[in-house]
């Protein structure tokens, strides 16, 4: 198929709409050639693509490389509507659909999926001449929502088009501001660079953990089904944050959730979870159960005092926040009914969320937080090994899409083997407490959904402390169990760090150990132990991490007792 690149240059700063950067996607090489010629005749900058996959890669590689996408509906590798969804969510670009089929139902579907226009083949050049209006309209709509910009709108209109297309910003030229808003800002600190309210630049906000936390909180408060950028913005009440910022972040959030959901191998059905179409008519149908939405929120807001280094935990916490969002929503996002996630799934999402996190927060924060894990902290995570591994393995393909560096992963086959084994056995346990979790708010949900999350880990660490104290008498340690814990630990480290920590940063013996961990009956270890005491609420009450203002976690539903055991083993071998 034809793949021609006209370069990822910024559009020419000529008279608008000249220089409009168009990406054309069509599996028919004849049409691709014709459309390219037509668009060039309109003085547009054209890039052609024969495969939807390639198109997505191009778009992702260069977020601001294109102004509009034109895509055929029928393509071999991906449904045009699916591509439409992705583009709308990830890149927030106007998409025009094309087809030789003009049936009303198809056109309707296009519109429903968010296409801003639907062209029938054969396409006339005059139809292509005016596609710039969709780009302009979108920008205008975004601008309109920013109250302080009403006066500026008229200025914009009279300005030459170059401003509109200068690097995707509205009022171009303010290089310092745009530079400031690049994602490489140090996100460790909680400063946030919000776009200058007087500029209509596209959202260049750096979504710090804190900001994202507020975002999710607002989303949860409104209810994901009813959420809209305006409402979120109002709730968040952050000065200088624009509706535009929120809208684009919301779309990213949704897409992320949807993508995670699709990619995770969800088998359990999340009881009670429902999904509905997002208010902005975007393609994916996300539905988040309110409690689960609140869940991450509370966790985010919670302050956990951990026995381990608090700063470490806090960072992890923060990291987890970003991650959690994805996880929390993922189970619900999948409309096909596979709404619930067992641990493996959530772990999967965790990894993917790390990517997301990366994406939204910049690598600095994530890298720092995980690299700073001490051995004790890591040890506590060992029980989450299984799901982590699974998520890691299965999430791998997504990584490149996000442009993150792939960490050298350990032999995936080993992971899969163990994951598969553990999966079936872990699942039933989780099913049970998942159903119990529905209706819970915050911590319960949090724990439920993110057993592998660092957040969960921190929670569990809290629980573990008293537990291990009280259970130190448990000596029925198998050697295999110990080994299991260690191998889990090693693997967990890999996963906990998500993509940010290279294998090199892990203790070498752990890595080696992990490799040797193949063939471990992890699930067996997990299942064979019953620790009713773990369900003792009193234990939980004692844990310091309940100091956050979230409903008390119903310990019963927090963890699989067998996992406690595994962790315990890991901690106190």
């Amino acid at each position: 198929m034809v793949l021609l690149e006209s370069g990822f240059s910024s559009p020419r700063n000529d008279v608008f709409p000249a220089g409009l950067r168009v990406l054309v996607v069509d599996d028919d090489p004849t049409w691709l050639k014709i459309l390219e010629k037509m668009l060039k005749k309109c003085s547009y900058e054209v890039t052609t693509c024969g495969l939807a996959r390639d198109a997505l890669n191009l778009l992702r590689e260069r977020k601001d490389g294109y102004d509009i996408v034109i895509s055929d509906v029928n393509m071999p590798d991906m449904d045009g509507f699916k591509l439409l969804e992705h583009v709308g969510l990830e890149m927030d670009l106007p998409v025009i659909m094309m087809s030789v089929d003009g049936e009303t139902s198809r056109v309707m579907k296009g519109v429903q999926h968010g296409a801003c226009d639907y062209l029938l083949k054969p396409i006339r050049m005059k139809e292509l001449r005016n596609i710039w209006q969709h780009v302009f309209r979108k920008k205008i709509h975004e601008v309109r929502d920013i109250e302080s910009l009403e006066g500026i709108e008229s200025i914009q209109m009279t300005r030459s088009g170059c401003d509109l297309f200068d690097d995707g910003h509205f009022l171009g030229g303010d290089d310092t501001t745009s530079g400031r808003k690049r994602k490489d800002a140090d996100n460790k600190h909680e400063d946030r660079d919000l776009s200058d309210p007087s500029s209509t630049k596209k959202a260049r906000v750096i979504w710090t953990v804190d900001l994202h936390q507020k975002f999710v909180k607002a989303v949860n408060q409104i209810g994901f089904d009813k959420v809209g950028p305006k409402k979120i913005l109002d709730l968040m009440n952050i000065p200088r944050l624009t509706r535009e910022n929120v809208a684009s972040h919301l779309q990213k959030y949704r897409l992320y959730l949807s993508r995670l959901q699709k990619e995770s191998d969800i088998k359990n059905s999340f009881i009670g979870m429902k999904h509905s179409d997002p208010p902005n008519n975007s393609t994916a149908s996300f539905g988040l159960h309110k409690p689960s939405n609140t869940m991450p929120d509370d966790v985010l807001n919670g302050t956990y005092s951990f026995p381990v280094n608090n700063s470490l935990v806090q960072t992890v916490d923060v990291k987890g926040q970003g991650d959690r969002h994805g996880i929390a929503s993922v189970p619900v996002a999948e409309p096909k009914g596979a709404l619930s996630k067992d641990i493996p799934d959530s772990h999967k999402t965790k990894s993917s969320q790390m990517s997301f996190d990366h994406y939204s927060l910049g690598s600095a924060a994530s890298g720092v937080s995980f690299a700073s894990f001490g051995s004790t902290t890591q040890a506590r995570y060992s029980w989450t090994e299984i799901p982590e591994i699974q998520s890691k393995v299965e999430y791998e393909p997504v990584q490149p899409e996000n442009g993150f560096n792939q960490l050298p992963l350990p032999e995936p086959s080993m992971i899969e083997k163990e994951v598969n084994r553990s999966r079936t056995e872990v699942k039933p346990l989780f099913d049970e407490y998942r159903s119990n979790l529905v209706g819970h708010s915050s911590p319960a949900d949090l724990v439920d959904l993110f057993p592998g999350q660092s957040k969960n880990q921190t929670l569990k660490n809290q629980v573990f402390d008293p537990i291990s104290a009280t259970k130190s008498s448990i000596k029925t340690k198998d050697i295999s169990q110990n080994c299991l814990a260690d191998s889990e630990f090693a693997k967990r480290n890999l996963n906990a760090a998500g993509r940010e920590v290279t294998l090199a940063s892990l203790p070498e013996d752990l890595q080696i150990f992990w490799l040797q961990g193949d063939g471990y009956p992890m699930n067996i270890a997990l299942q064979n132990f019953d620790f009713p005491e773990y369900n003792d609420p009193a234990l939980i009450d004692e844990t310091p991490f309940y100091s956050y203002d979230a409903p008390r976690l119903d310990h019963e539903h927090l963890f699989d007792p067998t996992e406690y055991y595994a962790i315990d083993q890991g901690l106190f071998v």
Binding site: D28, T30, I34, K37, N74, S99, V100, K121, P122
Partner: protein, 150 residues
């Protein structure tokens, strides 16, 4: 009327292609795209079409060899083929494609087969005519402007 005999011949050929319904407006669109930077644009596109669509024809042919017919697949193939044919304005070929899809939708295997034979005929006829046309066009040199069919 063109004074140059070759150009005159070209004009006549062209007009007949339109009058006899082999080509439609889309072909004119292609001609309008032809310019100094792409002096043989139309011929290139048509060549590309015939090259790519041969593959689609083969797919359909193979699908028609498997009984019972997979109408869904046949329809999908033909949809692709129709889209492609619309790119050069192959009017008769396109009409046969539409008919074929109708037969697919109604599950009429006989109709599909007959229609496909007709389609292949039209497809081949158009190719011959266009090949002849381009041969003259190359000899005649660049046309002045595209003339719209009546």
């Amino acid at each position: 009327m063109e004074r140059n005999p070759l150009r005159r011949q070209l004009q006549i050929m062209r007009k007949s292609l339109f009058d006899q319904g082999y080509l439609d407006e889309q072909f004119v669109q292609l001609e309008e795209l032809q310019d100094d930077s792409n002096p043989n644009f139309v011929e290139e596109v048509v060549t590309l079409y015939y090259r790519d669509s041969a593959r689609l024809i083969l797919n359909i042919e193979q699908a028609l060899e498997r009984k019972p017919y997979n109408f869904h697949k046949l329809d999908a193939y033909m949809h692709q083929f129709k889209g492609s044919s619309s790119s050069i304005g192959a009017k008769k070929v396109k009409a046969e494609s539409t008919l074929f899809r109708e037969y697919c939708k109604s599950g009429n295997g006989e109709g599909c087969m007959r229609c496909f034979q007709q389609l292949k005929k039209e497809y081949a006829t158009l190719r011959k005519k266009l090949e002849a046309y381009f041969q003259v066009a190359r000899q005649a040199g660049p046309m002045e402007t595209a003339c719209r069919p009546k």
